[in-house]
């Protein structure tokens, strides 16, 4: 039996996972918590073999940060990050943190269970690509890495100068990138661009 810890602040998603566990004879719920900030503590006190964790969890705790810490202190525990957000940076950060598998949320029991099985047998399962989505007239794949970085900061409502300082660029460069992105997406204002980008989940700041 594999002991599974669910880190998910959405009660509906948690219940779904609970049902999958009950249906399966190979997995057993070790616990379900809402915030990633408590995940490591749980691993210290209880027997946990596999963690299924969201990125954006309660108390604004990042599942990716928690995963990195757990992988460092408890390398034997397998971790699957399951997120509903298509933020392209999440997948890269998950790889860097040593997360075993990464999948996008979907309400299909078979897929989730098969990923869990493959992960437990030592395989690392990652999606081939991030989900493609449209931001205005542009496809998410049309954005360059640098543009995405600026877009990510843009969603927090910072000014060009603040963004420039954070990314160690000049305000002029930031304005230039924003202009290019406005042309790509066809939006009229940076606010429109920021709202659309945030809403689509292409960029998420703070996790």
């Amino acid at each position: 039996m594999t002991n599974v810890l669910i880190v998910e602040d959405d009660p509906m998603a948690r219940t779904l996972f609970e049902i999958y566990m009950k249906n399966s004879e190979r997995y057993r719920m070790a616990g379900a918590i809402e915030s990633a900030s408590m995940a490591e503590l749980y691993c210290l006190k209880k027997q946990v073999d596999l963690i299924i964790m969201d990125v954006c969890t309660a108390l604004n705790a990042s599942g990716l940060d928690a995963a990195a810490r757990i992988k460092k202190n408890h390398p034997k525990i397998k971790i699957i990050i399951v997120t509903g957000q298509p933020e392209c940076d999440f997948i890269n950060r998950a790889r860097e943190a040593g997360v075993d598998s990464f999948w996008y949320k979907e309400p299909s029991e078979e897929v989730i269970l098969s990923i869990m099985d493959r992960t437990m047998s030592g395989e690392s399962v990652y999606p081939d690509s991030v989900p493609k989505l449209k931001v205005g007239n542009a496809l998410s794949t049309e954005f360059t890495e640098c543009e995405l970085k600026i877009l990510r900061e843009l969603t927090s409502g910072d000014t060009d100068e603040e963004i420039a300082e954070q990314l160690h660029l000049s305000a002029w460069t930031v304005r230039k990138y924003v202009k290019v992105m406005l042309e790509k997406t066809g939006f009229k204002s940076r606010t429109q661009l920021a709202v659309a980008a945030r809403e689509s989940g292409l960029v998420i700041k703070g996790y």
Binding site: P11, M12, E40, A61
Partner: protein
């Protein structure tokens, strides 16, 4: 020669006067055009000497004697000078006369094109801006028409004392038709005709004298533009703020989308369960499926039960307390948790960090949290019942991240390892409020 000699005495007198005036004008030209430049010295002194000589020769013929020097020089070598024909001397006077008038004309041109007291006054009167120069005691040295008009419009008085005028501008005691709209070192005044004037004062040093310069510029358009800009910036800041709030709330939108997807799945489950039940009731299915169908319905009921329960009734604190409880760690809380959700989030982040460290490094199973308020600050102390630390504690990734987060919110963090581990944090009473 003889012809000149017989010239009428009156004509001779007129010629004499002409010569006299010519020489005076020439000397005048010399002085006026001198202007401290040595090249003028050469240019004008030479003609004056020539003029004087030719006059002497001319007079010699007219009066048959030398008027100025009396006796004719006895040496023969000077005689040629006085043997010039009178016509030649007259021609010389004519040339020099023309030259003199040309010089005069040039001097006139020079005065017309160069700066004089009156030309300065005239030109500054035509300036669209107000300008005045005064002594440090306020005595006006020079002021233009615009400044005089502004003085009337702003103070209701003549422009007599620049210092007094500036005091009125600076203190804002302007007359009732005018209104001061900005203060400081460049006061702005709105006049009754709704134009806006910005005044400036500057201390200048001119040839070791202190001169106070007061300027006034029509900034109506500039002011309107800057008001527009202020309004635009305000709207922009508001929009940015809304964007920030939106960013905070978007997660719940995304979550609702996920909930919707999950609901669709439940819907499918219900549909499948109904199909299975129908076939069971119609005796199409094998009896073995009975338990399976019952299991399905049980799950659906469980799902629906969860869904019907309000999702956000749990307070932030419970996320932490429940997780600690289910992990088998005891939390002892002393003091009141603040109402502000952001502050509680911060406390819980620190508590999670303290608890994880206490369990990992000290094998603790109890965390004490003491909260007390002091001077608009909230102080929180975390202690545990684990083993005492063996040495100094180095701040790892978790504690370091926590410190950054606290300091960003205006709080602070302190760790002591002796005699037992204590984590002490302070938070401003309105801490962390990104959503202020």
């Amino acid at each position: 020669m003889t012809a000149l000699y017989t010239v009428h005495q009156n004509i001779r007198g007129i010629l004499m006067m002409l010569l006299y005036f010519l020489s005076l004008i020439q000397i005048g030209c010399l002085i006026a055009s001198f202007e401290g430049k040595t090249k003028y010295l050469v240019k004008y002194i030479l003609p004056v000497f020539l003029l004087t000589f030719t006059e002497l020769i001319f007079l010699r013929y007219v009066n048959k004697q030398i008027v100025v020097y009396g006796e004719l020089p006895s040496e023969k070598r000077w005689n040629w000078l006085f043997q010039f024909p009178a016509e030649a001397a007259g021609l010389m006077i004519l040339i020099i006369g023309i030259f003199t008038f040309l010089s005069l004309y040039r001097i006139l041109q020079y005065y017309r094109n160069s700066i004089t007291v009156s030309s300065i006054k005239e030109s500054i009167d035509n300036l669209p801006t107000g300008l005045s120069f005064s002594a440090p005691n306020g005595r006006i040295l020079l002021a233009n028409r615009k400044m005089e008009m502004l003085s009337h419009a702003v103070t209701g008085m003549d422009f007599q004392d620049a210092e007094q005028f500036w005091d009125i501008l600076y203190s804002g005691r302007v007359c009732k038709d005018a209104e001061r709209i900005s203060d400081g070192n460049t006061p702005g005044i709105r006049l009754s005709d709704s134009t806006i004037w910005t005044f400036g004062k500057k201390i200048l040093t001119v040839e070791n004298h202190t001169v106070v310069q007061i300027t006034a510029a029509d900034t109506t358009e500039l002011y309107e533009l800057s008001e527009d800009l202020k309004e635009n910036n305000r709207q922009l800041a508001e929009m940015n703020n809304r964007l920030r709030q939106y960013g905070e709330n978007i997660d719940s939108f995304v979550r609702s989308r996920e909930v919707l997807e999950a609901k669709m799945r439940i819907h499918n489950e219900v549909g499948q369960a109904l199909l299975a039940s129908r076939s069971y009731l119609l005796h199409e299915a094998a009896p073995l499926q009975e338990a399976d169908i019952l299991k399905r319905w049980k799950y659906i009921v469980a799902l629906l039960k969860k869904e019907s329960a309000p999702q956000d009734f749990r307070r932030t604190w419970n996320y932490f307390a429940d997780a600690a409880d289910s992990a088998g760690v005891k939390i002892i809380l002393e003091g009141e948790l603040p109402d502000n959700e952001e502050t509680v989030k911060m406390i819980v982040a620190a508590a999670a960090e303290a608890l994880t460290n206490a369990v990992r490094h000290a094998g603790a199973d109890e965390l004490s949290i003491k909260l007390y308020e002091s001077e608009n600050k909230l102080e929180i102390t975390f202690t545990n019942n684990g083993r005492r630390p063996a040495g100094e504690i180095t701040e790892g990734g978790g504690l370091e991240a926590l410190r950054l987060r606290l300091e960003e919110a205006g709080g602070s963090m302190k760790i002591s390892a002796r005699p037992y581990f204590v984590l002490n944090i302070t938070l401003p009473m309105t801490a962390g409020g990104k959503l202020s």
